[in-house]
Symmetry: C2
Subunit: 455 residues, 2 copies
């Protein structure tokens, strides 16, 4: 193992250069104009992974391809580790809020700034480089490796479930390792005990066939922007609880031990607030910030568009309005139930004259880990050796819907080991990833693969 | 006069061709990218007006120029008619909802489709052509004429008040004639007894310094889109009344005669609703549709923008949200008072953690005519001769703020004679103006100038 770690240290400048090439490809899976770039990112990753010593294929799906790499050198009796990640990224808008261009990576203050640096190109690429280091110069591993990188994570992984079902035998594994999340804080690694799920909707309100003059029709023809605002206002009660009937019916009440463990984490609510420049915190009364982020559900407006939004004033009464509204879910909520509850709520609160249409974008189930056991122990030790500190257990407010799918289809537990940091601006301008974590993380992963080989 | 009317009939095809040239200039005053076009429209109009036989100047203002034409042939003892209109137009967005391009005029079903055809290029141009007909072939008029066309009406006429003040002596008139409104219905001309005023605001809500991941921050950092939606929801009570404290304090209670006269008009609320494809009407309980449009104030959302509004889903917690919100005012409300009441309301309802900024766009006072007397009689007769029907008295839901300014500065009453039709899509896609009204209206205006000469 010493050689592999030395190799990684020696090659770190090249590893970073290669990562920059990967980050330069604007593989925005949500935008059809970037379909070519998304495919180019897959091909680039496949070639790079192949140079690490794996057998690699780029497999088609109905939309963006899957990159599949295999190294079976440990033999059929050895355990198999399935490494999952994604090479697609979120849209980069609003572009004018980036300090440096999103697809032109730049290091400032020890951070790599680029769309995808943290989510998830930087992290999947750490596995690719850890494998290169482990297998370089005739090196070997005690586990078989399967790397699966998809290009549809940011649009809800529509093809991945069917893909895993179809290739179930080939993907058989003893553990699924995923690096698509954050450490608790700089220098303090963590292992995830939960993920929130997601139900994402687009609400389209319409009142008339065309935009109108607000003087000639105002006060008489329903205003869909006002109506949609009133509908959104009905989603929360004054205490920050979601006011959709039945919404909390399936929400798990976590045990006292989990809540005590969350309370014991070194976390300063004011620092957190100041970190994003907010002047106050909000949310459901009666729960701490970390609880509201990890083990309580939310309802957020992700976008709203109606009428004239350009320079100056236009006295228009809009014919239609659109809002993107998503819910973060916790065990045991299900996106399909949330849709039913939402539609019942809309039927009750939508005013006369407003036609409301509900489109469902991607969703995903929440996840809860089986904490403890040899997998967690192997990961904890690997992280402690690389970062010099025993990892804490942490929740994650975001969603990786495929985690539940992997566990269900392959029957293997997932191990979520992330290396980004809080405030990494995943899904926002100025996304960044620490150079230090990129380098220490590669060493942690080499160690982890080794430890997972010990039965 | 017979010669003038014959001339107008003979030249009508050319008049329409010239109007089309005028409509092709995208003089969108609100957008700085169109500043050159707006100036071009002024120059075009000045040249055309000069060919009608007037002495014309293009006078600078801080933004878009004023076109001023004069014909003083009636002598110093004769009355002077000031004709006011505007050559600028509303933005044409959303472009994809136009059947034919907004700046490429086209006649379909007897209607001229183009941005500005009704508001107000088509109507000010009718005056220009009526003057050409009246003054052609050595023709003369019993009144002196001043034509004043501005290029800032759609952005609230910021320069016009100071301009009129400055040129007060030169603009001295006995009546101000304005054609920037609609007839009550096809074949039924009307004279206006009221206009609503306007107070237009942009509300900018901010919660954090940058957009965030809705999983990593949702449920804890305030969502400015949700907050702005809740604020907008607070603007109306469940009965459709504006719920801003003190808002109705200055609202005039109109006399029974006016309400009875409104009730007597041939108006079908269902036809009106179906005309714009709406399935229900809304607004303040206890008032008819025409009353809600003409003599009651409103609060409308004209635009709303927050977060990600493109294709697909983006799980972003927006840092900011913006809404354009305007109020139509009735006598004796004042925009400056509405701003004070709005700000007091915002201070009360804005949730913690949301910084709200209020920008004021243009506003204007409501107007109420002195109905009856020789001016109204002259106009009524001119319209009856041209359209074959005695005009009705009508209100107007829209705003022409300069009307009150003209009356205040020049001490001359305004006469509002409009030729567009309800449903003309002023300020909306597919704006149109009837060819028939363009032609009959020119004849009505020739007659009107003659009758205004009789003291």
């Amino acid at each position: 193992m010493g050689d592999a770690l030395k190799y990684a240290t020696r090659e770190r400048a090249r590893f970073q250069r290669e990562l920059f090439d990967f980050l330069r490809i604007p593989s925005v899976s949500a935008k059809s104009e970037h379909d070519g770039d998304t495919r180019r990112a897959a091909t680039w990753l496949a070639e790079n992974l192949s140079r690490s010593g794996l057998d690699v294929e780029v497999l088609e799906t109905p939309k963006h391809p899957v990159v599949l790499g295999e190294w079976r050198g440990a033999g059929t009796d050895a355990p198999t580790v399935l490494i999952y990640g994604h090479y697609d990224v979120q849209p980069a808008e609003p572009l004018d809020e980036w300090t440096s261009p999103p697809f032109d990576p730049e290091v400032r203050d020890g951070k790599i700034f680029a769309r995808g640096s943290a989510d998830d190109k930087g992290q999947i690429f750490m596995h690719v480089k850890a494998l290169e280091a482990a297998l370089a110069d005739g090196g070997t591993l005690p586990v078989n490796i399967v790397v699966l990188a998809e290009g549809e994570e940011e649009i809800g992984s529509p093809s991945l479930g069917p893909f895993v079902e179809k290739h179930k035998r080939r993907l058989e594994a003893d553990v699924v390792v995923i690096s698509d999340s954050a450490m608790f804080e700089q220098g303090l690694p963590s292992l995830l005990f939960s993920l929130r799920g997601l139900a994402y909707f687009e609400l389209k309100a319409r009142a008339a066939k065309t935009d109108m003059h607000s003087g000639a029709y105002g006060g008489v023809i329903p205003n869909p922007a006002t109506a949609l605002a009133r509908i959104i206002a009905s989603f929360h009660d004054p205490k920050g609880r979601i006011a959709i009937k039945g919404f909390y019916d399936d929400v798990l009440e976590w045990d006292a031990k989990t809540r005590a463990q969350i309370a014991s984490l070194p976390f300063d609510e004011d620092d957190f607030r100041r970190g994003v420049g907010a002047t106050a915190l909000t949310g459901e009364a009666g729960w701490s910030v970390l609880e509201r982020l990890w083990i309580r559900p939310t309802c957020e407006v992700n976008g709203f568009l109606a009428g004239y939004t350009g320079e100056g004033a236009k006295t228009v009464l809009p014919a239609k309005a659109m809002a993107k509204v998503s819910f973060r879910l916790v065990p045991d909520q299900k996106p399909e139930n949330v849709r039913i509850l939402l539609e019942a709520h809309l039927a009750e609160v939508t005013p006369p004259g407003i036609d409301i249409e509900v489109l469902e974008h991607h969703g995903g189930l929440p996840w809860k880990a089986e904490v403890g056991g040899p997998l967690f122990e192997a990961a904890a030790t690997a992280l402690e050796e690389a970062f010099g500190k025993r990892p804490v257990l942490a929740g994650e407010g975001g969603s990786i819907p495929i985690v539940v799918e992997f566990e269900r289809i392959l029957g293997a537990p997932a191990l979520l080991v992330g290396f980004a940091l809080p405030g990494a601006n995943m899904h926002a301008p100025d996304e960044w990833f620490p150079v230090e974590n990129f380098e220490k993380g590669i060493s942690a992963l080499v160690r982890l693969y080794r430890k997972l080989g010990k039965k």
